[in-house]
């Protein structure tokens, strides 16, 4: 686990960092589980609504797989990899606050079946991810917080 400005970045994950997007990817064979990183949930604030694309929806990398609303922020969660939605997380759809309280666990958003594995090399991990996040956190003055409920 790497911690920067109070933001947690678990080991073993890949990270998609593009413009306003900061998502994580956990690989499991041909599937990728996707969620918001700690700084992404902090920047959004307490998330009130979440819509996830239905199972079977094909997405190119960089197109939305979900939309998030917090009252102070509204935006897309982009697909970090091209693929097809296998399963939207039904628990986080019912309780979007999980995105804030457990972003790397119960707050996962979607499982994708990857169709372009060559895109994996564009995701960040290890020291490269740490360096990129350090740069963003300092530039945008982000210090992570977790909602209690």
């Amino acid at each position: 686990m790497t911690i920067l400005n109070g933001c947690e970045f678990p080991d073993g994950l890949l990270y998609y960092v593009e413009r306003t997007q900061m998502t994580w990817v956990r690989l499991d064979g041909e599937e990728a589980r996707v969620g918001l990183t700690d700084p992404a949930q902090t920047r959004a604030g307490k998330i009130l609504h979440l819509r996830i694309k239905a199972a079977g929806t094909a997405r190119e990398r960089g197109r939305p797989v979900a939309t998030v609303e917090s009252g102070k922020w509204a935006g897309p969660v982009m697909a970090p990899l091209t693929g097809v939605v296998v399963e939207p997380n039904p628990e986080v759809e019912k309780d979007p606050g999980l995105l804030n309280t457990d972003p790397y666990g119960a707050g996962w958003i979607v499982r994708l079946k990857i169709s372009k594995p060559e895109e994996l090399r564009d995701l960040l991990e290890g020291p490269a991810a740490t360096a990129r996040f350090r740069e963003i956190l300092e530039k945008d003055n982000i210090r992570c917080m977790r909602c209690k409920e």
């Binding site: 413009r19 306003t20 819509r51 197109r63 939305p64 939309t67 998030v68 609303e69 102070k72 922020w73 509204a74 935006g75 897309p76």
Partner: protein, 134 residues
Amino acid sequence: MSTDLGTPAPADPTGKKILMIMTTGPEDPDKTYAPFYTAALMAAMEIDTTMYFLMHAPELLRKGAAEAVPLKKGGNLKMFVDMALENGVKLMACAESCRDLCEIAETDLIDGVRLVGSATLADLALEADSVISF
């Protein structure tokens, strides 16, 4: 008989266009936030979203103006204007309103705004699947 009308099922936004017409300017800050927020959300849903600013609304698009519009919950309007632009909302300002009411030159507008004539409003309204007015 139940009176609960429930929540409408999610609509398919694919290929849809929404036009938002904005007539309120900085004179009423409470009416400025929701349109930008809603437009940003719609664009995030992949709806082709355009905001058209006329009457005193183009004042919000003057460089430095959004920073001076306070919001009740703190902060100012700029973060919502930026959010709309980041999400791909198209911002269009009425040339006649800019010239005759607001006295704004094209160079006074923030980056990302297009100055267009009134006829464009007709085009946008006829092409849109829905028109929302604020």
